[in-house]
């Protein structure tokens, strides 16, 4: 979404020759960058939670949603490290169970948006002409809505659920990738190495796949990394106002909403799930930021 493209004060410069995949140098640059390492750690933690959450949760049945009325509204303690909610469920277990859907939805939405947007942008930018016009006008229509509003309208009409929220987010997200990749493809189209490939008689599809796409990979990777965080935040926000995951899904945004009524007496119900969202989004933003600097040829040797 535009929000993430805002964080690119300088456009990522393009490698002057064909296919220069991000190499070991970029990785080393990334690991030297303190904030980026913090981002890597946060994202790693999220992945671990998503993978092992149900296995390490202290109260698995409560994590999955089973009520436990005996232990309602308990403050954080040694048994319940992050306290319990209004239905007596252990909040730590709920957060651990929530990591998997949160990560799957955000990665899935961004992945699908890339799958739809990137080929369209490639074709539009490389071919130009009427096809370009048509694809860009359609994507403009999607981009004319304020961010998230289109997604909210779609969820409202389809009926609120995590699944519909994911669909709505894909529908409103792909145009950003189409536009990003189109811009890159247009600037690459006239480069000597593409002309050369054309002179050799390679088919358009081959040129796009072998010569244009690899040179777009860094900006796409950077954008997708930050976008995973942005989508996670968007899905949480939708759930918070009731337009996303429904109870008893262990969704972090939904948990913040459920704890909202009790926030003045039992602050932990909303505070911890919200912190989980914040840290996850922060992780992807820091990582995306670090990746951008590490992959930017202009930054090399600084």
């Amino acid at each position: 979404m535009s929000l993430t493209s805002l964080f690119k004060p300088k456009a990522v410069a393009l490698a002057p020759t064909a296919a220069a995949p991000p190499g070991r140098g970029a990785l080393r640059a990334l690991l030297r960058d303190g904030p980026a390492v913090l981002g890597l750690v946060l994202v790693g933690l999220l992945v671990l939670m998503a993978a092992l959450g149900p296995l390490i949760a202290p109260f698995p049945d409560q994590g999955a949603g089973a009520a436990n009325v005996a232990d309602r509204n308990l403050a954080p303690s040694l048994t319940h490290l992050l306290g319990t909610d209004a239905m007596g469920r252990d909040i730590l277990s709920r957060i651990l169970y929530g990591a998997r859907p949160a990560l799957l939805v955000s990665v899935g939405v961004v992945g699908l948006a890339v799958l739809v947007g990137v080929p369209l942008g490639l074709v539009a930018g490389f071919r130009g002409g009427r096809l370009d016009e048509a694809i860009m006008r359609v994507s403009d229509m999607f981009l004319a809505f304020p961010p998230l509003l289109l997604a909210m309208v779609i969820v409202s009409l389809l009926g609120p659920s995590l699944w519909n929220a994911a669909i709505a987010l894909v529908v409103s997200w792909w145009p950003w990738y189409a536009r990003l990749v189109r811009g890159l493809a247009v600037s690459l189209r006239e480069r000597p190495f593409v002309e050369g490939a054309r002179t050799l008689g390679l088919r358009d599809v081959t040129i796009m796949r072998r010569h244009i796409l690899p040179n777009c990979s860094s900006p796409i990777l950077v954008q997708a990394t930050t976008d995973i965080g942005t989508v996670l935040l968007a899905a949480g926000s939708l759930a918070f106002i009731g337009l996303g995951a429904q109870p008893p899904t262990p969704d972090w945004g939904l948990m913040v909403a459920e704890g909202r009524t009790y926030v003045f007496s039992q602050w932990w119900m909303s505070a911890f799930p919200g912190a989980a969202i914040f840290l996850a989004v922060l992780g992807f933003n820091l990582l995306g930021d670090g990746l951008r600097d590490a992959l930017d040829p202009r930054e090399v040797g600084r």
Partner: protein, 338 residues
């Protein structure tokens, strides 16, 4: 300039037409029967047929769209299913509250963002710069609804410094009633010299505005830092230094002027983002504005209200972009008006 404006206005009109078509299609084609939404789930077949006739839903789609367009242009935005009131009236009533919140939040965001960005650029790669970088990326990653609740817990519950929700305290409308002129409580109270109500309105604005400002402030700070670093290294800035201008003048007058155009662009984009940001902030702070109305409408599948709010949001978005382009062209002589 006038030609540029006309051209931009024409494209904006086209974009709006596209948005209205998209909204119309979404609302009329996606759901199985809009008529059922009007009557409720217990609708009888004959009721459905009657309502479909009343709403013109039995007409062909292109005629329906034409009717929808002409209705919107003549100010008939339909009645909200939830409140049974005309949508346009509902919107007009709530617009000032949202406008006031948005204006205060964006002003604060620009002020804080630009100052933090300039300071970070001046102290590039120091501890202070790293701290500002972390703060701004934190502001960008913060879920607004969560930040709002945290601020309530700290400043209302723990410290007891600020009121929790709403635009005014429960007694203020009775003890110090505000004469409504603009609908912006702070402005109205100021104009009528109602200092007690002014203070109350300002106190109620602080937390929601701060919550809404976190994201744009972070974005503006990052953009300002990046462009200021480039600007401070430029020849004309070095020349200004060589002329003996003070470091302060060089930074805030010479370099910052060059950094403004990109910051303006980013400001426009974040302002558009904050339009939807108000949905969450208004829900958390029970702020009687458009965002709360929109959130309600979306939850209750209140078609006329959803369509009204969506079109209004798109108009706002298009206007913001238009203004940004014009300001941009004025600030940066290199941007042509062609």
């Amino acid at each position: 300039m006038i030609r540029f404006l006309m051209r931009r206005a024409a494209t904006s009109a086209l974009v709006l037409l596209g948005v209205m078509l998209a909204t119309f299609l979404l609302a009329r084609v996606v759901p199985a029967s809009p008529a059922v939404a009007y009557i409720g789930p217990k609708a009888q077949p004959e009721d459905i047929a009657r309502v479909e006739r009343e709403l013109g839903l039995d007409q062909p789609l292109h005629i329906q769209f034409w009717n929808y367009l002409t209705d919107m242009l003549t100010g008939d935005w339909g009645d909200s299913i939830g409140t049974k009131q005309p949508v346009l009236g509902e919107i007009g009533e709530r617009l000032p509250a949202t406008f006031e919140l948005l204006a205060v939040a964006m002003a604060a965001a620009v002020l804080v963002g630009v100052v933090l960005g300039v300071v970070a650029a001046r102290r590039k790669h120091t501890k202070l710069d790293h701290l500002i970088r972390l703060l701004s990326i934190g502001g960008v990653s913060m879920p607004a609804f969560w930040l709002g609740l945290l601020l309530q817990v700290v400043f209302v519950r723990a410290l007891g410094l600020l009121p929790p929700t709403g635009r005014l305290g429960p007694d203020t409308p009775f003890t110090y009633p505000i004469t409504e002129l603009t609908g912006l409580y702070t402005v109205d109270a100021l104009l009528t010299g109602n200092t007690a109500a002014l203070g109350d309105a300002v106190l109620h604005l602080i937390l929601p505005a701060a919550t809404l400002a976190a994201y744009p402030a972070g974005v503006v700070a990052r953009m300002t830092r990046a462009t200021m670093i480039e600007m401070l290294a430029q020849d004309h800035v070095r020349t200004a230094r060589a002329y003996g201008l003070s470091e302060r003048t060089v930074t805030w007058r010479v370099a910052l002027r060059g950094a403004l155009p990109p910051v303006t662009t980013v400001f426009g984009l974040t302002l558009a983002y904050s339009l939807t940001g108000t949905f969450f902030v208004e829900v958390v702070f029970n702020w009687p504005g458009l965002g709360q109305f929109a959130a309600q409408a979306l939850l209750n599948v209140d078609y006329p209200a959803i369509m009204g709010v969506t079109v209004l949001g798109a108009v706002g978005y298009v206007l913001v972009n238009l203004v940004v382009d014009v300001v941009q062209a004025r600030l940066d002589p290199r941007v042509g008006l062609a």
